[in-house]
């Protein structure tokens, strides 16, 4: 029982960590499928941007479109778009940090 609990906790700790990394920078969160990794990074980044009220206008549509491309078999296009969406979320996260100290220049 003790062992099981320990294992569960360890797995939980690892997955929590992987999740955290995935939501910030990790482009390939351990997945062997590059699209899955890229779209997961874009989605978690976008969720964080929305929560901070700093999301970009087109990120949501790009994520949707990337999934469509993937489903239609255009894997290269899908990956490129998912990566572009993820890059937007990283830039929006940087704006979120800068926004904390925003003020006039006079």
């Amino acid at each position: 029982m003790k062992k099981l609990l320990l294992t569960t906790l360890t797995v939980f700790a690892f997955s929590a960590q992987a999740d955290y990394l995935g939501s910030s920078h990790n482009w390939n969160n351990g997945s062997s499928d590059p699209f899955k990794a890229a779209i997961a990074a874009a989605e978690s980044g976008y969720a964080a941007n929305l929560k901070a009220n700093m999301a970009w206008r087109d990120t949501g549509a790009m994520i949707k479109e990337a999934k469509k491309l993937q489903a239609s078999g255009n894997t290269a296009g899908a990956l490129a778009l998912a990566d572009a969406a993820h890059t937007q979320t990283v830039n929006a996260a940087a704006q979120t940090v800068a926004a904390g100290s925003a003020g006039p220049r006079f």
């Binding site: 206008r57 006039p104 220049r105 006079f106």
Partner: protein, 273 residues
């Protein structure tokens, strides 16, 4: 241990001073001073006319429109009729419409949040009719315009007094000055630093005086829209995802935005192209 206590106490002080350092009147003076420095010949009172204080080319057209029957006149009249029809005067907060326009936006201490004129109208409408009202155009914009008309000639006078109010004001100020969206721009980048310059077909309006004529009529909309509708439009232009109209983010920004126009006359000249 002593060190820890000192650290905790000074951290507490830092948090405390965030709003204790808020000086709205100093902010406003610096704001007005900026516009004075970029347009030394424009009188303070003329900022009530928004972009037409700067855009001499279309000022004649603006004045002609006001001399005739402005395209929003019928809608505002309808707003007055709707105010009656829905019994909005029965709500204490709207019993005196002119006073209501001047009082809003204000910080509600009990609720711990900024209350906008549109928020009060929507709440009263629901109380009187049991129905919900939109947030950007139609009835709300018409009624809000009519209420604001009653205060034409009075001055914008937003009060930011308590710690809670100051915190909301600071949040709104940060939203206004923060860069956002794909173009990495802030509201101030266009409406403060570049005010009076051309952006495609438009002359960028100064943020000073932005809230004297709200809700505004816009030829492009073909109707009247609320200030938060305009916020949404500018968010989209910045390639940022708009926040919902009447969300706290926009209410806080409005609190700051209107406070910067304190001392300017409220006007019923709502036309903008």
């Amino acid at each position: 241990m002593k060190k820890l206590i000192t650290a905790v106490v000074s951290l507490g002080l830092m948090v405390g001073t965030a709003s204790a350092g808020t000086d709205v009147e100093a902010d406003r003076k610096a704001f007005v001073g900026h516009f004075k420095s970029i347009k030394p010949n424009v009188e303070f009172a003329d900022y009530t006319n928004g972009v037409y204080a700067y855009d001499e080319g279309s000022r004649d057209q603006f004045e002609e429109i006001l001399d005739g029957i402005p395209p929003y006149e019928e809608a505002v009249e309808k707003g007055g009729a709707e105010f009656e029809k829905f019994g909005l005067g029965k709500c204490a907060a709207l019993a005196d419409p002119a006073a209501a326009r001047v009082k809003h936006p204000y910080y509600d201490e009990a609720a711990g949040t900024v209350v906008t004129l549109e928020g009060t109208i929507r709440k009263c409408y629901t109380e009187q009719t049991g129905k919900k009202m939109g947030t950007m155009k139609g009835k709300l914009a018409r009624i809000s315009a009519w209420v604001s008309d009653q205060a034409a000639g009075e001055k914008v006078n937003v009060k930011v007094e308590s710690d809670g109010a100051k915190a909301a004001y600071e949040r709104g100020k940060a939203t206004f000055y923060a860069k956002r969206g794909q173009f990495n721009m802030s509201c101030a980048d266009c409406h403060v630093y570049q005010a009076g310059k051309k952006a495609r077909a438009d002359i960028l309006s100064p943020a000073l005086g932005h809230t004297t004529h709200v809700p505004m009529y816009r030829a492009k909309w073909g109707g009247i829209g609320t200030l938060h509708r305009r916020y949404g439009g500018c968010y989209k232009n910045m390639r940022a995802k708009p926040i919902m109209a009447q969300d706290e983010v926009y209410r806080d920004m409005e609190f700051f935005h209107q406070a910067m126009s304190n001392g300017l006359e409220i006007t019923d000249a709502r036309y903008r192209k």
